[in-house]
């Protein structure tokens, strides 16, 4: 037990992040269930919860958003998959700083405990939205949750520290622990994307950490950083928050993109189209993401000329993403496509994300955003970006690497049932919300009964429809968990390389033993990761570690392990 808890092995830390993230995902989804029930049948008892009071509603919405982004998307996509993939795909036995790696998980776990605790203290959990705008978040006499709001900020702050620690490991490992012969441009996409995401996170989160310190002081010692009465400025928080918050979308997006880009060539048996171009556009997106933050502030009274500039940068950022989408299509074109469960998830990621991307262009236009701001159009838009990232991306990666993690195959039939039910219900939940947004339905409202123009039965029917779809979707997750547990024990043995993939993690046992490879068997690397169906070869794949006949000139002798 203590061997498990105190292990520095990257695979164990991966599971710790994965399990914690998924458990938090269930909590976040349960919160969505409770407030969606309230929206569909306002005022009636919600099974497993009871009456939802307005204060509870606010706390649930706030913590649902916070949890899904900071305690689900980040730990699963970056930390769990980063821990799993980076050493294995680089042919290394661990992270370069294993003890810092463990510390990062411990701090992360503590942050989750603090967040849950914020719900249980007197006054209840913080209800000022995940953006935590002051003065509502700063003054207890506005938010009525003196302890809950402080614990919320502390939890988020601890979580940031955990990811700064984790990021150091990811970036340094990718820079230094690569197998002999493995150049930067031979790294699989998911490694690259997690590295770029970690750097983006490091560069954007600092100002918000500073801002959070000021917010805690405003809450606890009574400073007035965000209070105009004492020379402070509430809009300062908005700048600090969104300078982080917008890049954060790309921090969680890029790993999901990387996962899908590794899956798609494997199952279309084709080279990934435009490897370097995709990388450069990912970096360009990252850089651009620092210049768009004020599109969240079009209604905070900014100068319209400034709004124009941010409109342009916002619309520009869709260009690199469109380019990546075309690269995906080109990688599929003419391929021998195998619609396995991971491939279905990887493809649906792009299909759904496109809807999020296109509706984002509407919101980037400052004039249109004045209407859309804080209504359900925004809500549907960002769920069409975040859900593919956090949920679809996770399922894609999890089902793809399941054989490596547990040594057995998942059941394909169950996997496909889970996929189709989940994806159908997901669209049934969120697509109708675009129409509620167009009709003018605000976000973060406890009951629309108080708004006669929104209480119409046809709108109420949409709300009931969405909530019903959510319930079906949540039930469908039982299929997934059953498949997971059943396959772990009863699945078909996977062998080293069940998907016939090229990257280095498939050259070792499934699951990999201590140190990943047996001593003396650490792989060398001779080529890029996407050599599928190469000309003149009998096999339609060409593992990175397989020496070309005759010459081995790319590989320097391996450093002798001490």
């Amino acid at each position: 037990m203590s061997k498990y808890l105190l292990s520095t092995d990257h695979k164990i830390i991966c599971f710790q992040y994965m399990l914690t993230g998924m458990a938090m995902g269930l909590i976040g989804a349960f919160m969505a269930y409770v407030f969606r029930m309230q929206l569909a049948w306002p005022g009636s008892d919600v099974p497993f919860w009871g009456q939802v009071s307005p204060a509870e509603y606010n706390a649930l919405v706030t913590n649902h958003g916070t949890i899904m982004i900071f305690w689900v998307a980040m730990p699963v996509l970056i930390a769990a998959f980063g821990n799993l993939c980076i050493p294995l795909m680089l042919g290394a036995d661990d992270m370069v700083f294993p003890r810092i790696n463990r510390l990062s998980f411990q701090v992360f776990f503590l942050s989750a405990v603090v967040l849950i605790a914020s719900f249980l203290v007197e006054g209840g959990g913080f209800g000022g939205a995940w953006t935590a705008y002051p003065p509502l978040s700063a003054k207890a006499h506005y938010n009525l949750t003196p302890l809950g709001s402080t614990l919320w900020v502390i939890a988020v702050g601890l979580e940031f520290v955990a990811f700064l620690l984790g990021g150091i490991n990811f970036v340094t490992t990718a820079m230094n622990a690569r197998a002999p012969g493995l150049r930067m441009f031979d790294m699989p996409m998911v490694v690259w994307m997690i590295v770029i995401a970690s750097i983006l996170f490091m560069a954007s989160v600092g100002p918000l950490i500073a801002g959070a310190v000021m917010l805690v002081f405003d809450q606890t010692v009574g400073t007035g950083f965000y209070d105009p009465a004492t020379g402070g400025d509430p809009v300062l928080w908005q700048h600090l928050f969104w300078f982080f918050g917008h890049p954060e979308v790309y921090v969680v997006l890029l790993p999901a993109v990387g996962i899908s880009l590794d899956i798609i060539p494997t199952f279309s048996r084709k080279k990934l189209f435009g490897y370097k171009t995709i990388l450069y556009t990912a970096i360009a997106t990252g850089v651009l993401s620092f210049f768009v933050w004020a599109h969240h502030q079009f209604v905070s009274g900014i100068d319209p000329r400034m709004a124009n500039i941010f409109t342009v940068t916002t619309v520009l950022i869709s260009v690199p993403l469109a380019e990546m989408t075309f690269a995906v299509i080109a990688s599929l074109y003419g391929g021998k496509i195998q619609l396995t469960t991971p491939m279905l998830w990887a493809l649906s990621f792009w299909a759904e994300f496109i809807i999020g991307g296109i509706t984002g262009i509407f919101l980037g236009a400052s004039g249109a955003d004045i209407y859309f701001h804080d209504n359900y159009f925004v809500l549907a838009h960002f769920h069409y970006t975040f859900y593919p990232i956090a949920i679809i991306g996770t399922f894609a990666g999890f089902t793809y690497w399941f054989p490596k993690m547990f040594g057995r195959m998942m059941n394909e039939a169950l996997g496909k049932i889970h996929f189709w039910v989940s994806i159908t219900c997901y669209n049934a939940i969120f697509f109708p919300l675009f129409f509620l947004g167009l009709a003018g339905q605000h976000r973060r409202i406890y009951s629309y009964e108080h708004f006669p123009e929104l209480a119409l039965p046809e709108y109420q029917a949409i709300r009931e429809f969405a909530t019903t779809a959510l319930i079906i979707m949540l039930l469908a997750q039982g299929v997934f968990f059953f498949n997971w547990v059943w396959s772990m024990f009863k699945g078909k043995p996977a062998g080293k390389n069940p998907w016939k993939a090229n990257t280095l993690e498939w050259t070792t046992e499934s699951p990999p033993g201590h140190g990943n490879w047996r001593h003396g068997e650490f792989p060398n690397c001779y080529r890029g990761p996407y050599e599928y169906s190469p000309e003149g070869r009998e096999d339609d794949y060409w593992p990175q570690n397989e020496p070309p006949e005759g010459h081995e000139e790319r590989v320097k002798p391996a450093a002798a392990p001490a």
């Binding site: 700083f97 990021g167 600090l240």
Partner: protein
């Protein structure tokens, strides 16, 4: 379990730069943006509030200047420690590292006197936005000084045994960073009146 503590990955150096040095640079980079955000917020406020100049007049420039001198000197002894470490002279590096720790301690003690005097004069953290920034920025910096001193102590004990001598350079780099942050804080909080 020793294999788990030092994996083979830690001994590779595909980029040619030692892994420890890379790690410290990433730590410093992520700290720069924290202080960067705080100082940018302060500068925005300072530009919008000319009266900050009057408040800053109440800070003690002499003590601040003295502390600047102390920190710079402690950075020098960190450099000397690195120099000795490179010659595998762990004992001497140990002594220089403790000079650096002494510099940090002096800095904190002077700060304590300074803050006591200011608080007694009524300039508390809640007095107004200037004092809020003053205590927050300098306090965050002081925490970094203290953390640096703890790390210096750990490194020094290994160095005395001639172990992990490369860490003397790494902690030195971190200490220079803490020093440089103060070089920004001092003019912004004490001199810009």
């Amino acid at each position: 379990m020793s294999a788990a503590v030092r994996p083979m990955a830690n001994l590779r150096s595909a980029s040619g730069i030692p892994t420890g040095r890379l790690g410290v640079w990433w730590v410093i980079a992520s700290e720069i943006v924290i202080f960067g955000g705080l100082l940018a917020s302060y500068i925005m406020h300072r530009l919008g509030h000319p009266e900050f100049g009057d408040y800053a007049a109440h800070t003690n420039t002499w003590l601040g200047g003295f502390n600047t001198f102390v920190l710079l000197t402690s950075s020098l002894s960190a450099v000397l420690a690195h120099h000795e470490a490179q010659r595998k002279n762990g004992q001497k590096a140990f002594v220089y590292l403790w000079y650096t720790i002494g510099g940090g301690a002096t800095f904190i003690v002077v700060k304590a006197f300074e803050w006591t005097a200011e608080i007694q004069a009524g300039y508390t953290i809640t007095a107004n936005a200037f004092w809020g920034f003053y205590y927050t920025a300098a306090g965050l910096h002081a925490l970094h000084v203290i953390a640096g001193m703890v790390c210096l102590a750990f490194v020094s004990f290994d160095a005395r045994k001639n172990e992990e001598l490369h860490r003397v350079e790494l902690i030195g780099n971190y200490w220079h960073f803490v020093d440089i942050v103060w070089i920004f804080l001092f003019p912004l909080l004490y001199i810009a009146k």
